[in-house]
Symmetry: C2
Subunit: 308 residues, 2 copies
């Protein structure tokens, strides 16, 4: 039996060190050193290799090293192979930090003050209490709920939207396409934390932006393909949206001539809102291996019918 | 009996509206309309007028409209006149928001990503968990403790320093000049929330910076005169400090040719970290008037011997 890792090799070395300390009985290999192919029972990868079960006939679980699984073709994996998403505490904490920072930045006019500094202008804007600022989160999974929990401690007015109805303490919850406009109408700062599925591809488009109140802003930490780039540029141009923090794009990296780079109302970061932390990721993977061996349900198991 | 307000007149109109609603029996005047001088029992001001008790012989309380009282000469007020600082929940919440935003910005390398965007460079920096980031707060008053309370929910390693020893849940506390170096040595992100007194004037100087580890950063939300500007520029120049968020300066506004404006490692905001919110400020003032009339101790009463 062995464990094969196929992702960033620098972090792979940290995984190897952690496996050696915490699970010395599990032989650990870093791609392209696969060891004996027929002994590979567990594979962790950002994107699985082609013909994964042909190559590894005894594979029992595929672990995605990311929180999402849209970076590979789920249908290309055999239906009986369990696919597990990364939902370790490190990735959650990182997202909470980044989203909180971005929401506070819009709440406190940081982008405007950065522009004013460049212009050499000393002028205060009125501060509104968080209780008068409406923050809406698209996606009420582990990440969306954790972000809302943190924003709640700051006193914001909160709403959330998901495909199926959810209940979240202190959050006005909306569900399904038909309730999306009502949620958007009451949102000053919109945070996208949706999974990427055929239904959510391109969801951040001009129709959605038009439902937001004039002057709203966007924190995009979902997936690049959620966002219609020309629609965002247009909404910023007309002043309908006042600003955007964009951490994910399609493609990544953005080409050098892409208008997001130099846009004065876009704060662009290179897909760093959250990254899997080796320490906590290995703990989650080992816990799932123990659960699998004990016949217990896996944490983060992907529901193939929903696609996340 | 009447209440006189002498500060920003736009906010004064809001105070007047709130007084009319909450304390219709208290005649409210906005400077320079002082009404009948001998009827003024309460005065709220950023800076008191000269010869305040000569002009208002029946004055019973002076309310500062700011959290600090260093903007005027305390010694010029008669010693028996109670002086009350503003410590209303609005000013506390604003400071918590701003300081949390600034700490998260350094924790998540936001200044570096802003520079990278200008350069058109897509490169991720490693994310460290908050539990490995050491945040130290100078000043453990109402504001310092509130900021630490919020940072604690994000999982940072916290320390605090004050003149006299304090105990704060989840925070390693240091006290007095002799323990300051030990606190600084263990601080990656330093937040200044001290009152301005003769002892703290110029405290953010090259001696203090040298005790910080190389690469540390500064969030300055105390008072302008805490900070030695050339020392900060020098520490950034040599790379000893990696960045600073500066909300308060001396003088304010900064002159147009001041090097902070264009400095790539300084994020400058125009003293907006926190502002008194009329709604909650009026509540605090009215509560103190009721306490005063009932002979109860005032909230936010300045200790003249400490100077804050």
């Amino acid at each position: 039996m062995s464990f094969l890792y196929k992702a960033d090799p620098v972090r792979g070395m940290e995984w190897a060190r952690l496996f050696a300390a915490k699970a010395p009985d599990v032989p650990f290999h870093i791609w392209p050193d696969i060891g004996q192919a027929d002994r590979v029972r567990y594979l962790a990868a950002w994107v699985p290799p082609p013909d994964v079960t042909g190559q590894f006939p005894n594979l029992e679980i595929f672990f995605s090293t990311g929180a999402g699984i849209d970076q590979f073709d789920l249908a290309a994996l055999p239906p009986e192979l369990p696919v597990v998403r990364m939902a370790e505490p490190g990735i959650v904490a990182g997202m909470v930090e980044y989203a909180t920072m971005a929401v506070l930045a819009f709440h406190r006019d940081l982008p405007a003050y950065i522009r004013q500094q460049r212009e050499g202008r000393w002028a205060a804007h009125r501060v509104y209490p968080a209780s008068k600022r409406r923050v809406g989160v698209l996606g009420l999974g582990v990440l969306g709920c954790a972000v809302l929990g943190q924003l709640r401690t700051l006193g914001f007015q909160l709403s959330g939207w998901s495909r199926t109805r959810r209940q979240v303490d202190g959050v006005t919850c909306y569900a399904g396409q038909e309730e999306l406009p009502a949620m958007l109408t009451n949102t000053d700062i919109l945070v996208c934390l949706l999974p990427l599925t055929p239904e959510t591809r391109g969801i951040l488009n001009s129709t959605l932006f038009q439902h937001l109140p004039r002057g709203a802003s966007l924190v995009h930490v979902g997936r690049g393909a959620h966002l219609d780039h020309p629609a965002l540029l247009d909404a910023l141009e007309t002043g309908w949206l006042s600003g955007a923090v964009v951490d994910v794009t399609d493609p990544e990296p953005l080409p050098p001539d892409h208008p997001f780079w130099a846009h004065p109302k876009i704060l662009l970061t290179p897909h760093i809102a959250s990254m899997t932390q080796p320490e906590t990721a290995v703990e989650q993977v080992l816990a799932n291996i123990r659960r699998h061996e004990a016949g217990e349900p896996l944490i983060g198991l992907v529901d193939r019918s929903r696609g996340y």
